[in-house]
Subunit: 273 residues, 3 copies
């Protein structure tokens, strides 16, 4: 069911403009190529409008933001809105600093986002205008677990309604919701948290998925989450004695490169609530 | 025949100053080390003149350019010209935005480049002052193929004459020309286009090759292209079931690391027109 | 003996704020995760104080510095000092440009560093306020060898006394000293110099080690050096025909990921002078 969304990415080769942090940008570019998209990066305010105009989607990630790139985010976002493009926000570290919180909240006021994707701590910050973030990982106390699932599902649906955006919260259990339906996805492995940037990679890939599936945006966002988690499982199954997080990073991107419709359809584990 | 150029890189260990984009910079540094060169990166205007002064070559890549780094490109370029250093331009995304086109064209006016290397779309933009770029890849319609080869060879020779630079156009068939002779190189694999930055890596490595072979610059530039393509073939031959573009990236750099004169001499497939 | 320091990193999961160059930043993040730490990157002056406040350690690396990030280094450093955090300086390229030398020397005047780590050329620049740096590698003539060891040990102890910081000089033989004791460490492989950023990675990891071992800072800094060198040995032992520096980079980070107390205790080769 979700596999068709991947197939559409490979068929339509969406061009995605990324304003993203310099820590994980190379992996974001490679996973976009792996899934069938085409990446282009630009953060200079005087460059971003032209670049985003030739793309179909825009991925804004605020990790390693600076004053220049923040201006680039606003200008690219406005232009993308004007053109009716898909726009995704990854509020990396929202809650960890005033600048990050203010930038994420400010962007949400001025730009219409198609999707907002983060960990539960970041998403709560956006929702509550406060919160704490331990680095860029979610507080364990605020993790989405089987016990807290009902509340969490209600929370993301409500936020989706309030923001008129798809809300994707990733963690041990992933949630992808609009105001009515919430995909609860149980793919992935805990070891993915020992690699830098699996979240950033997912945001890039999700932008490509939603851009290539404009009629089924929610499903496409869920498909990207399931594909990433499944790649984590496939990549892990190929690990050998002595391999660690650096090799695991390569194997996950490789698994996306080799994933087809059938693999995703068979491997995706989700329910809709 | 081309292998001697690689041998000279390993013998002379050219120090290459790179002003390059943050997407692929790590791979550029590692491939420079793999081929026997020594990389140093700096883009701050107040730092670049000192840094380029201790180097032998300068690699200017305009991907992820910003106003600060553009100033750095001009200052480094002028200083490198003053010192008679090798200077290469990689006009990433020229044609995709006004800022990129203007920067590439402006640099060409003020800096004497030893080599200009890009895809056919970018090079046409420089030549024509216009054009369209799909992300950073060449338009398929403008690809260099066996059918369009004669015209393309004539075009690059003419541009080489006009700019007094070696022109390298890379794609399915690669062309490296001065105003008289054009190397037509048929190494490489299409899957290299699914890795981010093989072009950026080639630009870094080509700067090292030309710097280490000042008496045979055209041949050295062609040798770098053949070495990169051959590494793509060797790397691909080592791919295993389940491997994808992330592992392929590693294997290509590894193949450069292990390449010797004989391997390059035997594996290079080219003619001179 | 040194293994306990690694165990403490895994137990205490120190959060490390990195202001580091964009060339090797991804590897720095991944090796921090591999050793058990948690990385966060931020260089915007208006962001760094908040970010460093939630961390335990600060790693300042001046490679690819710019005027904005230099201001970020000062502001983060002052705040970290105010909070009594661990602060490390990696003076990449000090001696290669006036801006780098001035920045490193200026930071040392205003910020109290817990550790200063570099190659012998960079450290001599800091000590002498002059010197030459071939790119970011040490001059061969100034290498620490068995012949020059006594002088080098005396030099680092003296500099440690003068700066009131732990001084770590890495090369063929590594030295980690305070004013009284110097760890002389003989782990590692020469091929590590063919990978970009093993020094940067070590600086990130060393910040985590010292942060997680506040009562035994000198020993913790030495443990990080031994762990990095040992990972270079273990990673090399897993190399297969055709592998090169790109794969080697992955295997080193993987070896840190898999290293335990016993492996480090048994593999560390050092003496205290």
């Amino acid at each position: 069911m979700l596999g068709i969304c991947l197939e559409n990415v490979r068929k339509r080769v969406p061009l995605v403009h990324n304003i993203t942090n310099y820590v994980t940008v190379n992996d974001v570019a490679n996973i976009l190529l792996a899934c069938g998209g085409s990446p282009i990066m630009s953060d200079e305010p005087e460059d971003v409008e032209d670049i985003t105009s030739i793309c179909g989607g825009l991925n804004i990630n605020i990790g390693t933001l600076n004053k220049r790139s923040i201006e680039g985010m606003y200008r690219a976002g406005r232009k993308a809105n004007e053109l009716g493009h898909i726009v995704l926000l990854d509020p990396v570290g929202a809650g960890a600093s005033a600048l990050r919180t203010d930038t994420a909240v400010g962007l949400m006021k001025e730009i219409r986002f198609t999707v907002i994707r983060g960990n539960i701590s970041e998403i709560k910050t956006l929702a509550l205008g406060s919160g704490t973030t331990k680095g860029v990982d979610a507080d364990v106390a605020d993790a989405v677990t089987e016990e807290t699932l009902d509340t969490a599902v209600a929370f993301v649906k409500k936020l989706a309604e309030k923001t008129d955006a798809i809300i994707a919260v990733t963690g041990a259990i992933d949630l992808v919701a609009d105001h009515e339906r919430c995909y609860v996805i149980r793919n992935g492995r805990p070891e993915m948290g020992r690699i830098t940037g699996t979240g950033c990679q997912l945001s890039g890939m999700m932008t490509a998925f939603v851009t290539a599936n404009p009629e089924t945006k929610l499903k496409a966002a869920a498909a990207a989450v399931a594909a990433m988690g499944l790649a984590g499982e496939i990549g892990w199954s190929r690990m050998q004695a002595g391999d660690g997080n650096s090799t695991y990073r390569n194997r996950i991107i490789d698994a996306i490169y080799n994933m087809d419709k059938e693999t995703l359809d068979q491997g995706a584990r989700f329910e809709i609530r």
